[in-house]
Symmetry: D2
Subunit: 344 residues, 4 copies
Amino acid sequence: MNEHPPISVALVGASGYTGLELTRLLLNHPTAHLALMCAGRSAGEPADSVNPALKGLGLPPLVAFDADEIAAKCTYAFLGLPHKTAQDVTHELLERGVKVVDLSADHRFDDADFYAAVYEPHRHPENCAKTVYGCPELHREAIRNTRLVGAPGCYPTSVILGVAPALNGGLLAAAHAIADCKSGVSGAGRNPGPGTHFPETADGLHAYKTLNHRHAPEMERILGGGMQVEFVPHLVPMNRGILSTIYLRLKPGVDETAVRDVYQSQYGDEPFIALLESGAHPDPRHVRGTNRCHIGLFVKGDRLVVQSAIDNLGKGAAGQAIQCFNLMAGIAETSGLEGTAFFP
Amino acid sequence: MNEHPPISVALVGASGYTGLELTRLLLNHPTAHLALMCAGRSAGEPADSVNPALKGLGLPPLVAFDADEIAAKCTYAFLGLPHKTAQDVTHELLERGVKVVDLSADHRFDDADFYAAVYEPHRHPENCAKTVYGCPELHREAIRNTRLVGAPGCYPTSVILGVAPALNGGLLAAAHAIADCKSGVSGAGRNPGPGTHFPETADGLHAYKTLNHRHAPEMERILGGGMQVEFVPHLVPMNRGILSTIYLRLKPGVDETAVRDVYQSQYGDEPFIALLESGAHPDPRHVRGTNRCHIGLFVKGDRLVVQSAIDNLGKGAAGQAIQCFNLMAGIAETSGLEGTAFFP
Amino acid sequence: MNEHPPISVALVGASGYTGLELTRLLLNHPTAHLALMCAGRSAGEPADSVNPALKGLGLPPLVAFDADEIAAKCTYAFLGLPHKTAQDVTHELLERGVKVVDLSADHRFDDADFYAAVYEPHRHPENCAKTVYGCPELHREAIRNTRLVGAPGCYPTSVILGVAPALNGGLLAAAHAIADCKSGVSGAGRNPGPGTHFPETADGLHAYKTLNHRHAPEMERILGGGMQVEFVPHLVPMNRGILSTIYLRLKPGVDETAVRDVYQSQYGDEPFIALLESGAHPDPRHVRGTNRCHIGLFVKGDRLVVQSAIDNLGKGAAGQAIQCFNLMAGIAETSGLEGTAFFP
Amino acid sequence: MNEHPPISVALVGASGYTGLELTRLLLNHPTAHLALMCAGRSAGEPADSVNPALKGLGLPPLVAFDADEIAAKCTYAFLGLPHKTAQDVTHELLERGVKVVDLSADHRFDDADFYAAVYEPHRHPENCAKTVYGCPELHREAIRNTRLVGAPGCYPTSVILGVAPALNGGLLAAAHAIADCKSGVSGAGRNPGPGTHFPETADGLHAYKTLNHRHAPEMERILGGGMQVEFVPHLVPMNRGILSTIYLRLKPGVDETAVRDVYQSQYGDEPFIALLESGAHPDPRHVRGTNRCHIGLFVKGDRLVVQSAIDNLGKGAAGQAIQCFNLMAGIAETSGLEGTAFFP
């Protein structure tokens, strides 16, 4: 099963939460060999200085980013960098023939103008045309054939997976969704701030950027079909996980059976998606630490409520990035991602 | 300020979370005198046996419910009982002239048939006609003049307070709301079960009874105007608090200023409601332990998102019950409820 | 009961957690009138800008610290400031005749050399001689007669209250204690940092400054009798509360009855201390939001384990400061502190 | 590396937390094949009925325990059963030649009288003589050669690993330890009760069974040398993990270097133990989901404080059980346990 020869990969940005999860998954991957761990400010320090979980594992020290070194040693690079920074790094790596899975927001759009409208002008707009949005359930073949994947945002992953079958299956009365999403705090990154300070985060919750978050255009563009998403993200006192509760309207005559048939036909063969039985509610705790997505479907009259649970660092980031890598590398799509959820 | 002579009150059902919070508030009330604490299974035991927080306060022991004793000693009774049980107790007390604030679901509807449709046949349907729904912002005068208040459910309180101004102020394009509500675990009561076991509750969250919770008809009936509420409650890993995120559609031409004007005109004089400034998001932690409600308003095009934060045991239960008592007793509406939030 | 004329007080340092809790307690105090709230960086802003819980209460805006203004308007000042800063502020206020309750570490020692050894040289060493350590259970009379109180640290409060009766009652075989203390995260203050970032604080715990924390000399000095305290503080994923588990050795022949007699004799009349019955374990959740201390006593052979639970912001800070103020002002010692715990 | 032919194993008791973690680890094990999952009350139901994390994995349904079936299909059985129940099951399996790793308390003592003194009379006392205490760091060779392992308790694992080097290395002035242990709530098992109900567990903590917990004799017996352990367990609001803070006295002349030399010599080659550098504090979050133990050492004068962090379900239960199985089966000791910690 592990007969494929090792593929050396670099991790650029090893000290953020995305980098930590990529490290965990890559060290356990049967084919990928984590050859270089780059962390700018911590270059030269031991790997456990940014991640005490690595204590005693005998890993080599962190290094500074050096595109030539990566090109000399690695075939692929995963980028766990802030957006903007990822643009230059991607460019340097692509120029040297390294394939890139970028987990930042920088290569999620294949249109530089759209990127500029949502973020700011792209520093290497020519790379936008090269990128594939890394959602295997929608773009599996394109991912297999690209050299650059823009790994999806965590919120968009959960919403797109929840909505796409209904939209593409022609179930909806209108191309409109309300996405009320609840995220764990690791989604806010590793930099401490007032909004993630424990006593202001535990035992409470709140929305933020109501109707004004940059993940909404990402959802709308990737879903297509003129979809409008009314998106309100919430910060919930848990470490990991996203639960998206999505409110949709069904066409006349569409009942729960019809809904389930469509979801089953689109997801029945997907290795990482489970449709829960009627009445069952998904919970991110049951996909914690995995690349899986649990989907619950609720129909009452013409109302459809879809609930989609992922791990924001798993299917919402590092897990999905590795799923894309597996496709790009031509190895089993589930390699290194078979683990079951970390529950309790 | 405290010149009103003491009013003796009984608390029936002292051992549940609603009872604990009533105890806390009543012991601090300038006029109410907590003369009797009834707890069936713990009758004869010290008060701190069901609530260690009462250790060392010198309270009298818990007693069994005895309508005659209550009638002899008290003018009012607060009921922190399961629904059904509250029906008989209420009846016995009303017959003896004791005024009742019932925190169960049993007297929230002034129509016994409606109650039967949502719950089951009422054991004393004649009492339904006597009850007033205890939402002072909507029914202040009726509460002043009743002998029986049905204190609102925690979810309905947060949703009704969020929606009523928009509905009654004529802002809405349709009598329809989506209410995505997030509750702390104390809302599930004090009886332990799999769904409230710590390792199955912490570090995760889930919806329950999607589109099928009995608080939806309560919201719809009290709001009136043919309002339909698509209600999905969620259990969040926090002790207290409800945040309701409510999705509404505005009539053409209604902008944020118009929305704010309406809410300001309806709530400007309310002692327990604060409208947050534009862009600010309410969080139940900032009303924790109080009878307050913080409301945030977000408008984009014809979309209105209302966010309403309360303490499920405060404004959602015990606090509101005492606000009603204050009105019934003709004392200052804010008596015993002036405390600021317990934050952090 | 509230017949004492109002006493105007100032709060200097209104934006930290100690300041927030002082605000909550002072606004609810029957005699103290919170006349001025000072917050340097937020001067001129509304009070709810640093504490959203104050939204809608109609409080005056925050002001900059001005010793003359305070002297003109207030008899007392509470200082919720970082240590060092508190030294100058205290000095200016004392010079102007304002009585001070300093919640920083700056006036906990009546010996400037000792202070210098534990912290650094004091900027106004002459004030050390004027200060009284604000532990009413030990220093009630001195507090009544001082113009300057140094309110105890949160850890020392819990340990001193747990150990003092055993030490002073002659129960111990040696003047030695191991104090294994567990604190909520609000004890680390309101400034965010890596150590209080939610995902690095929730679902884990750790000790810090093992055998090397500056609260150990405070405990040892105040306890006296040559007491040595082996102190290890831990940070636990909760907002508030300290539980100290204290390990002591009993003199030969001392049994549980003798231990309980001594504690009862010393604490039986204390309004804020409750001794739990044999076998009962204290929990800070049952004193949350109060000035109370719950103490559990466990004896096996010559081993005595004392468990002491307080709210680090209550009896460990703001509550105890107000208890001292009540003594200084000659009003009922429990004024404004009667509230029962915020549980659940 | 995975060339060993598969070894079929049974899991008896698949629905408790120990069973869930065994499932997670065994499904990821390169050699063990999880052939049977037994769960008495859920026999016949799908595996995801007791563990929603298994949804969509295509596992066979749960079965009732049948010793013959296990003997026919499996070489080894892991028991995640309550104590007492495990005695009969073990007996039946041993009689049929199945090797057993029992995670209950039933086979932790090789002396039936000692077991009876701590628990109650053993139903199959002859099996006590056959058992090996499953702590590989102490009993590696014996584990390789036994047919029955009693997997250690979670608290004893963390304390024994922390104390053994100091005791066996002759560092201690006395055979006495104080073990102040803090456990996550999964350690209390999966049955809900008042003590694990979320609102009575979150935002607080407490000790239980002070000086009276059955893990103390286990620690003392396994450590040997007349060791006395003053043991106080605490329940902390986190899902997983144990941090043990252990207080010891050093012989005169033993300094930190000497302490570190001894621990290094005993643990330097251990695959799952990491000694942290001077001043660093272990935290269970950094070993979450693993079989690792992080140890911190703190010396001041003659005081030694050892801090030991494990995952109670990992090194404290399922992980260590698999480590024992690996030894019994003659495969690499780290098989299936290489994963790094689940952090954040």
